[in-house]
């Protein structure tokens, strides 16, 4: 019997070994993954016990994301408070216990919680810890302009749509607004409400994720390809062939049934003749047009300091699925921004900004710098050139053509007193009769651009020139009047 009892002991020993091994598995092998799980309350609370860095507007004048301290049951927590409510919800995002975090709050979480590994931050954090003080995060100074953001939000009002404004020379995001929005101080409520039918997806950042047929604003891209091909100048005469032409057995007509005769490329853009641009598209061909689109940033996620999950690619889509550039398309209709082409407002703002910057595309960026609690700059973004999309001559040609759009063409509503605005309208049918997606892309002043804007209004009976252009004008005016721009 003693031998059997001895065997029972060995079974107990084996059991102990299994338990120690499994405990070691969780504590050593699986620990990093478990620590990063979003359902790990420890992680969330540990981050809430950090005094997150503040988020400022451009120049660090105004706080966009602050903290409120709460002490309960001996636990000190710092909860986010957004003094401007919905105004900066899209670029700044939110940081919550239950609903996670988004936008800059997510992208720069390491800086905001001082988990970034640069030396100045490490020393600050070590100092905090040694003194038993709360760890304080790094502050972020964004590029967002208060007047531009306000003008964008005011312009959108209760309409559904989006506004993005960029600084052409640097790619700095000056305004980023999406409507309907939400209040980041009540994310749980916003999520609950967004589930209701007809809520209009308030949590969606339409500037980076909204996909819209770009319509005639895309003619600027087609014109770029045409001018860069060397076969066209702004004065090249093209036969508009009347009101409609037939492309792939389907008639393609000018908006409003307008007649286009022998017109120059510049005139065709000014009055947005579809029949002309469809022919240019066919002439230029898919390869060259796609190369130009690629250079502008189509077919890729934009290289912005923003969470990848909250960015969409612009390009060809079929039933909500991104189509590979190799998929066959009707290039004449792509050239006028139709077919299955969809673009984000950020992409179209990048098109305007690239032309404004003499043809060099810059990476858009939201954060200028991060500052440690002791005042050191731990991160500073510098303008990043992505690629030269066109020659400076082409850019100058396009600028004067777009200038004419606003002076005498479809975009006259964007005129600002003595300011020279260059722009292009777009009105894309939505599939519901009488409802359009109205676009306007613009930059100003045309001679020395300081701001480029893209505006889209969803499902409106109006047109790009009548509803989107005035919003763009207001944003431009508010920004240039603020004196922030040199």
């Amino acid at each position: 019997m003693n031998a059997r009892i001895g065997r029972l002991f060995w079974i107990a020993a084996l059991g102990t070994l299994i338990l120690v091994t499994m405990t070691a598995y969780w504590q050593i092998w699986a620990a990093p993954d478990l620590a990063a799980r979003e359902d790990n309350a420890r992680l969330v609370y540990r981050q809430l016990s950090v005094k997150r860095g503040l988020i400022y507007d451009a120049g660090g004048h105004t706080v966009l994301a602050a903290n409120k301290r709460r002490v309960k049951n001996g636990i000190t927590l710092y909860l986010r408070r957004y003094p401007f409510g919905p105004l900066f919800a899209q670029p700044v995002g939110y940081n919550t216990v239950g609903e996670g975090r988004t936008a800059l709050e997510l992208y720069y979480n390491d800086y905001l919680t001082s988990s970034n590994s640069d030396l100045a931050t490490l020393f600050d954090k070590l100092g905090d810890k040694l003194q038993g003080q709360t760890v304080t995060g790094n502050d972020l100074v964004t590029s967002l302009s208060m007047p531009a953001q306000r003008a964008a939000a005011r312009g959108l009002g209760t309409l559904h749509g989006a506004v993005v404004a960029l600084e052409p020379q640097t790619g700095r995001v000056l305004a980023m607004a999406s409507s309907p929005g939400y209040n980041p101080n009540d994310v749980a409520g916003a999520i609950k409400r967004s589930a209701a039918p007809g809520s209009g997806s308030p949590l969606l950042n339409r500037t980076t994720q909204g996909l819209y047929a770009p319509g005639s604003t895309f003619k600027v891209v087609t014109a770029t390809a045409a001018l860069e091909s060397g076969r066209y100048t702004p004065d090249t005469i093209i036969d508009g062939k009347g009101t409609c032409i037939t492309i792939q057995t389907v008639p393609l007509c000018n908006a409003g049934g307008e007649f286009a005769g022998q017109v120059s490329l510049a005139e065709a853009l000014t009055f947005s003749y579809n029949t002309v641009f469809a022919q240019i598209g066919e002439q230029v061909g898919k390869d060259r047009l796609y190369r130009t689109m690629q250079a502008y940033g189509f077919f890729q996620k934009p290289p912005i300091d923003y969470p990848s999950d909250e960015l969409s690619r612009s390009g060809m889509y079929s039933r909500g699925k991104f189509l590979a550039p190799s998929a066959p398309v009707d290039i004449a209709r792509v050239a006028i921004g139709q077919e299955r082409l969809l673009a984000t407002p950020l992409q179209m703002a990048t098109v305007a900004a690239t032309i404004a910057n003499g043809g060099m595309r810059m990476a858009p960026s939201l954060v200028d710098k991060a500052i440690s609690p002791s005042g050191k700059t731990v991160f500073e973004s510098s303008p990043e050139q992505i690629t030269r999309v066109m020659s400076s001559q082409t850019a100058a040609d396009l600028t004067s053509m777009m200038r004419r759009v606003v002076e005498e063409g479809t975009g006259t509503a964007a005129n600002v007193g003595n300011l020279s605005v260059a722009g292009k309208t777009g009105t894309a049918e939505t599939g519901t009769a009488g409802l359009n997606n109205a676009w306007f892309i613009a930059f100003a002043p045309a001679e020395r651009p300081r701001i480029a804007v893209a505006v889209v209004i969803e499902r409106t009976p109006e047109f790009g020139g009548t509803i989107a252009a005035p919003i763009a004008r207001d944003v431009i005016e508010a920004y240039l009047a603020s004196g922030v721009a040199k």
Binding site: G15, T16, W26, N73
Partner: protein, 428 residues
């Protein structure tokens, strides 16, 4: 006075030191939240074990000198962590330790010689079944499991006591039937089978265990009772055939219950893959595992891990009972967790040693059964929180919060020491 008791005294003094350090570190880590008067629990705890030690000197002077200090160490670990989670619960727990120690001393005093229990084996066996049946009928359901009976203001978990009674009954019963069960009645395919009528108990026991699962939704107790039964059957007969047949029967029965009882199915699916339901059914297991993982090699330090939400409740549901191992592993790391498991193994070692030294079959079976019950229970719950086996609601002996658990484990300790004292006296 005998050397065993001096040995025990030194061991207890070491435990006292560890306990004092433990309480002090919790206190220093959490002095903003808890007040210093609660530190007297530590002193009070030590006084209790001094009383137990004196009791042993008087009652069982030759008993094993390791078991009581090991039990003291385990209760200290439990009390420290419960105190860390909730000082009010720690006060309750320390009252239960008083009751447990009183029961322990009373048992030693009243029974005197364990062999006297053998003649009451059927009474005790019937009592074990009655307790289980009573729980099934008048039990209160908490968190979907029917484990408790409300007695006045307190809740008793009869499963903890039927475990003890079952071991005593089986020790008596198996000693009696040892021979017939070991004999082969006929041989089929070279394997000797005992007469069918002797398989009756095996079938009865399987039935009881499955009924416990199905009616009480208490898979832990069922596994525990059945495991005890198989282990003791093996020690008594030496026939692994019983173990195999028993496991096969249990597997078949479990399959049936799995198919018919939704709550059992749910437990299994959580065990197999808790991750998709992290906010719902898998919440407890995931939070427990995340807490263990947070400990790393050396832990966060006592009182320094993250256990309480800002509303005062624990992150891990039932942290003071099911999750106590996770809290300990979080605060002391792999070093502390492995240490705790080794304390259980040492306890098992001393317990089985008591069994091998015993000179009659009843005592051997009793000591082996009690030790196995103790170790297997620890395995089931630690295995449950580390996802080795499905998580069940049984307690970690001497560590988990809970009166029934504490009192029944002190009685288990008392029985072991009684066996030990008699044999060691005989050897001397």
């Amino acid at each position: 006075m005998r050397s065993a008791r001096y040995r025990e005294l030194w061991n207890l003094l070491f435990v006292a030191l560890v306990t004092a350090i433990g309480f002090l570190s919790v206190y220093t880590a959490r002095q903003q939240e808890i007040d210093s008067t609660s530190l007297i629990y530590a002193g009070y705890f030590l006084a209790l074990y001094a009383v137990a030690h004196i009791g042993l000197r008087a009652g069982l002077p030759d008993a094993d000198p390791w078991l009581l200090p090991l039990a003291a160490l385990l209760t200290a670990v439990g009390l420290i962590e419960i105190y860390r989670l909730n000082p009010t619960l720690a006060r309750d727990q320390s009252i239960w330790i008083v009751v447990g120690l009183a029961g322990f001393l009373a048992l030693i005093l009243l029974v005197g010689d364990v062999r006297r229990l053998e003649s009451y084996k059927y009474t005790l066996g019937a009592l074990a079944v009655t307790l289980l049946l009573l729980t099934m009928v008048v039990g209160t359901e908490i968190n979907g499991a029917r484990l408790w009976i409300r007695l006045g203001g307190i809740q008793v978990q009869p499963g903890e006591f039927s475990k003890l009674l079952l071991v005593v009954f089986l020790a008596g019963y198996l000693r009696e039937k040892q021979e017939v069960l070991s004999m082969s009645h006929r041989t089929i395919l070279g394997i000797g089978f005992p007469a069918v009528r002797h398989l009756g108990p095996l079938l009865t026991m399987t039935g009881i265990a499955l009924a416990v699962v199905a009616v009480m939704n208490d898979m832990g107790t069922a596994l525990l009772l059945f495991g005890i039964f198989l282990a003791m059957l093996y020690v008594a007969t030496g026939r692994s055939l019983y173990t195999v047949v028993g496991l096969a029967l249990f597997a078949a029965g479990s399959w049936f219950v799995y198919q018919t009882a939704g709550h059992v199915r749910e437990r299994f699916s959580i065990w197999l893959n808790p991750w998709p339901d992290s906010r719902d059914t898998g919440y407890q297991l995931i939070q427990t595992i995340e807490s263990i993982a947070d400990g790393g090699l050396f832990g966060s330090g006592l009182g320094r891990s993250f256990q309480l939400l800002d509303n005062g409740s624990t992150i891990i549901p039932a942290a003071q009972t099911d999750g106590i191992y996770a809290v300990w592993a979080n605060e002391t790391g792999l070093a502390g967790a492995a240490g705790l498991l080794i304390v259980y193994l040492l306890f098992a070692y001393r317990g089985f040693k008591v069994a091998t030294l015993a000179d009659d079959s009843f005592s051997k079976l009793l000591a082996a059964g009690l030790t196995f019950a103790f170790s297997f229970q620890a395995f089931l719950i630690v295995g449950g929180v580390t996802r080795v086996v499905p998580l069940t609601g049984i307690t970690l002996p001497f560590v988990s919060y809970g009166g029934s658990s504490i009192v029944s484990n002190f009685m288990l300790l008392g029985l072991l020491l009684m066996v030990s004292d008699r044999t060691r006296k005989a050897i001397r």
